[in-house]
């Protein structure tokens, strides 16, 4: 199954609380491994990604650096509202290494996804990619 959390699949960022033109929110959905969205100071931080259609998602993996507490929410509404928690995790940190996390989720229908970074092991964190395997359902 393809990763639906990519620009090439129609996913796009609709909101982000940090914006560095060199490491913009869009880096999260550009399908490239090396690019990232960096936060630019203070917590919490959040980013919202919208899919072109309601999508049945079975897996959710994140690649990040220096994140401590992360909450991921979903909405299956037409507009990004009415959030339900998907996962709430404290990630582990090892100096100089990225965090690869497989968030065990039950298959569900998602239209929008919201990632909230509640705290970090550093003043700044990076989010490189989100891999969500799934298939759009016709509406």
């Amino acid at each position: 199954m393809p990763n639906v959390c990519k620009e090439s699949e129609g996913a796009h960022v609709v909101l982000a609380t940090s914006w560095d033109p060199e490491h913009p929110p869009e880096a999260l959905v550009d399908g490239e491994e090396g690019t990232f969205w960096s936060t630019t100071g203070m917590y919490p931080q959040e980013i919202v990604i919208t899919f072109p259609a309601a999508t049945r998602v079975t897996t959710l993996e994140t690649k990040s650096a220096c994140i401590k507490n992360i909450v991921i929410q979903k909405s299956s509404n037409q507009s990004p509202a009415g959030w339900d928690d998907l996962t709430s995790t404290e990630l582990t940190h090892s100096e100089g290494h990225v965090q690869l996390e497989d968030h065990k989720i039950d298959p569900c229908i998602i239209r929008h996804i919201r990632i909230i970074i509640k705290s970090g092991y550093e003043p700044f964190v990076a989010l490189y990619s989100i891999v969500m395997e799934g298939t759009p359902i016709e509406s």
Binding site: W19, D20, P21, E22, H23, E33, G34, T35, F36, S38, T40, G41, M42, Y43, A65, C66, K68, G96, H97, V98, S119, G120, Y121, E122, P123, F124, A126, Y128
Partner: protein
Amino acid sequence: MVVLRAKCAIIGDQTVGKSAVTQAFHSDGSHFPKAYTMTTHPELCVKSVNIPDTQDSVELMLIDLPGEEALQENITSYLEDCNMVVVVFDVTRSQTFENSITWLNKARTAAGASFMGGVLLGNKADLDARREVIREQGEEVARTNDLDYFECSAKNGSEIDTPFHFIASMFHAYYKDKVGQFITMA
């Protein structure tokens, strides 16, 4: 062209001039509270600082805390996630200088992983005749505690911007360094 956001606490003993320094910086020197008003709860203000030789800026969220002993209970929550501190003492009262490191340690502990340092600031430098702490002492204590040392006078507005511009640049340098690490880690 990035705008960074930093949380910075102004700490130190009562009446050393924390509010006066904060307000002088925030108002570009147009406001100096002559009459003393005790700060009874944390006061927040935001000021943007441009980083020289870049298009970048740092928005400093300044938290002016009360120095009064009896008001310390709720302060810890304001120090949480704090990135930097300005530890103020009064150069005419050595006791306030001796207490600075206690303030620093308290902030460092409460701030946690987001803490990156700060400055030790000798205020009331205009009262030179009554000085009890000399610059060399200040520099020495700052050095042993990984702080940088500055002196200022909120009253005549001298050197007020310098410590704040310094911490803004420090925050900016830290960010650039971190982002560089994120690139190599990928």
